[in-house]
C-alpha cells in the first residue's frame, strides 16, 4: 500500500529508497527529504524526555493533497519514512505500525549480516522482497 519506502541513516542520507515505479520517483524523493525536517522536529520535541520514553512510531508526519507521509525512528536514529496514497482510506494506523515493524525487523536482519557494513546502501534481496510485498498490495 505504500507508494514509497525510504530508510534514512543517522546522518540523514538514504540507505534505501524505493518508489512504486509508475509514479514520478523524483517527487517522492523530495517528499522524503522534506519529511526529514519534520522527523527531526518530532525527535527533538520528545527529546527532553528520556530516550526510552520516546516511541519509535512517529505517526503521520504531514499530509499533502495526494499523499500522506508516515515516519518511524529506531533507537539508533535510523529513520523509516513511508509515503502512502491519500485515496487509500482503508489504511489504518495499526496497519501502518505493523508495516513499520516489519521494516524494522527486516532492517535488523540486514544488520545481522556480517558482510553488511553499517552505512552502506542496503542491497539485501530479502529486504527488497519485503518492501515489494508492502508496495504490491496497492490494487
Amino acid at each position: 500500500m505504500a507508494v514509497c519506502v525510504a530508510v534514512i541513516a543517522k546522518e540523514n542520507y538514504p540507505l534505501y529508497i524505493r518508489s512504486a515505479p509508475t509514479e514520478n520517483e523524483l517527487k517522492f524523493h523530495y517528499m522524503v527529504h522534506t519529511s526529514l525536517d519534520v522527523v527531526d522536529e518530532k525527535i527533538s520535541a520528545m527529546g527532553k524526555a528520556l530516550v526510552d520514553q520516546r516511541e519509535l512510531y512517529l505517526g503521520l508526519l504531514y499530509p499533502t493533497e495526494d499523499y500522506k507521509v508516515y515516519g518511524y525512528v529506531t533507537n539508533s536514529k535510523v529513520k523509516f519514512v513511508m509515503v502512502v496514497d491519500s485515496s487509500n482510506t482503508a489504511l489504518r494506523d495499526n496497519e501502518i505500525r505493523s508495516m513499520f515493524r516489519k521494516l524494522h525487523n527486516s532492517y535488523t536482519d540486514v544488520m545481522c549480516n556480517p558482510f553488511y557494513n553499517p552505512g552502506d546502501r542496503i542491497q539485501s534481496r530479502a529486504f527488497d522482497n519485503m518492501v515489494t510485498s508492502m508496495m504490491i498490495q496497492v490494487c
Binding site: C112, P114, Q123, S124, R125
Partner: protein, 587 residues
Amino acid sequence: MEAAAGGGCGSGPPPLLLSEGEQQCYSELFARCAGATGGGPGPVPPDATRVAPGTATAAAGPVADLFRASQLPAETLHQITELCGAKRVGYFGPTQFYIALKLIAAAQSGLPVRIESIKCELPLPRFMMSKNDGEIRFGNPAELHGTKAQIPYLTTEKNSFKRTDDEDKQETQSPTMSPLASPPSSPPHYQRVPLSHGYSKLRSSTEQMHPAPYEARQPLVQPEGPSSGGSGSKPLRHQASLIRSFSVERELQDSSSSYPDEPWRITAEQREYYVNQFRSLQPDPSSFISGSVAKNFFTKSKLSIPELSYIWELSDADCDGALTLPEFCAAFHLIVARKNGYPLPEGLPPTLQPDYLQAAFPKPKRECALYDSYSESLPANQQPRDLNRMEKASVKDMADFPVPTQDVTGDDKQALKSATNEALPKDVSEEPATKSGLLPPPPALPPRPCPSQSEQVSEAELLPQLNRAPSQTAESSPAKKDTPYSQPPSKPIRRKLRPENQTTENQEPPTTVSGPAPVATVKPHPTVQKQSSKQKKAIQTAIRKNKEANAVLARLNSELQQQLKEVHQERIALENQLEQLRPVTVL
C-alpha cells in the same frame, strides 16, 4: 563467452572466442574428461577438492585419449599441450582444455598450430571413435539433434544422465561395457556405450524429463560458459559415485521431479570437508560460528562482498548473525557452487535447508567426532558424553530444541574461549566414545542439556588448571544426575563439591564423591567406577608431573633469590664507594 573462457583459470593464453556450437561441444568434452575419472578432478582428488574448490580440471588420462582420438600426430599433440598452457600450470583447467580443443580443430583443418590459430573461425574438432555415435556426435552435433536450440537441452541432459548412467551402469554392468569400449581403452565408462544408453533413454524420455530444471540450467550452462559444464560434472559425479541410492533415486526422481537441483545437494565427502572446516573455526559442532569469524573465513574465498552478503542471507536461516553447522555447510556449499560458476539461487534450495541437512547427515557429525576422540584420546569427562549424545539426538528430533541449548552454550563459549576450547573437545570426544560402546551409557538418565554443559563450561573457567579435569569429572556426574534441578541450585552445589573433590578425587570414584554432596540423588554406576579408575591413573600421573614441575620451579626460585641477594650486596658496596668519592668530586 570469451570472458568465461579466458577468465577461467589462466592468464597466459589469449582469450578464446567460441561460437555457440563450439561452446557446447567443448563443455561436453570437458565434462567428459573431468567426469571420466571417478576419483575427482586432477590427479590428486582429495587435495584438489580442498585446495581448489573453484577449478574443475580434466584428468590427464581421458584428455590424452581424446587427443589421440583426434588422429593428429603425436608431435602436434605435444605442441598443442604446450601451447595451451597445461604443461605450464600442470593440469588441464577449462581454459587450457578449450584452447587445446581449438588448436586440435585448427590442426585438423590444416592450420599451423599457433596461438593465433585459435582466433579463427574453425569447425569443431573431430575425434574418431569406434562407435558411430561418437563420431557423428562430435562431428555434427547439429545434425544429430536436429536443431541447435535443442543442443544445450540435450547436452545438459546427457551430461547428467550420462554420468548417472555411467556410474550406475558401470557398477552393475562393467564386464559387458568394457569389451565394447575398445579404442580409448583406459576409462571404460568414458565410452559411447553409456552415451547410447543415455541416448535411448533420452529419446524415449525426452517428454517425460521435465524440461523446466534443465531449461533453467540451459541459461545456466550457456552464460556461465564452459566452467559450469565442467564443474557441473564435479558435483554430479560426486553424487553419482558416492551416493548410489541418491543417483538411482534421482533417475526416478528426474521424471518425478522432486529434487531437480542436484548441484545443491551436498555429498558425504563435501559434508565431511565442511564439518572439518567448521571445527577448525569452532571446535564444538553444536555451537555457532560468530559473524565476524565467518566473515573472515568466507572472505578468503575471494568472492565479491555483495555475493558473500547474499550467500549469508540465504544460509543464515534464523538471521541471528551466526552460523550453526548446517547453516555453515549450506553457506560453504553455496560458495563452492558459486565459484564453480553456478548462479546463486533465488531462495535456499530445499537440499540446503538446515533441518534437511541436520536430518540427512547426523552421522557424519558423530563420525568426525569419533575420529577426534581416537586422535585426542582424552580420558576425562565421560559422563557428559552421554549428555551430548542425547542432546544431539534430541537436536535431531526437535527442531526448536537446539535453539535454547545452542544459545546458552554459544554465549558461554564465546565468553570463555580458551577454557571452553579445551573443555569442549573433551565433551565431543567423549560423546562418540560412548556411542562406540566402550562404556555403555546409563540409559536411565534423561538428557540434561544446557545447564550441565554450561556448568562444565563455567566450572572450567573457575578451575583453569589441572584440577579442571578431575573436578569436572566428579562434578559433572552429580550434576548430570541432578536432572530435576535447574541451573541455579546446582551451581552452588558444584562449588561446594569442588574443595571436596580436590582432596578426595584420587581415591574415590566420582560416585562416592558425589555422595557427600547435599544434592546427591545418586544412583551408583558400576561403569562410573571403571571410568574413575582410569581417571585416577590419569590424575595421578598429572599430579606427579606437576609435583616435578613444582620442584623445578622451587629450585629455580631459590637460585634466583641467591642471585638477587648478591646483586643487592654489590649495589650496597657501590653506593658506599660513591659516598666516599662524592666529597672529592663536589669540591
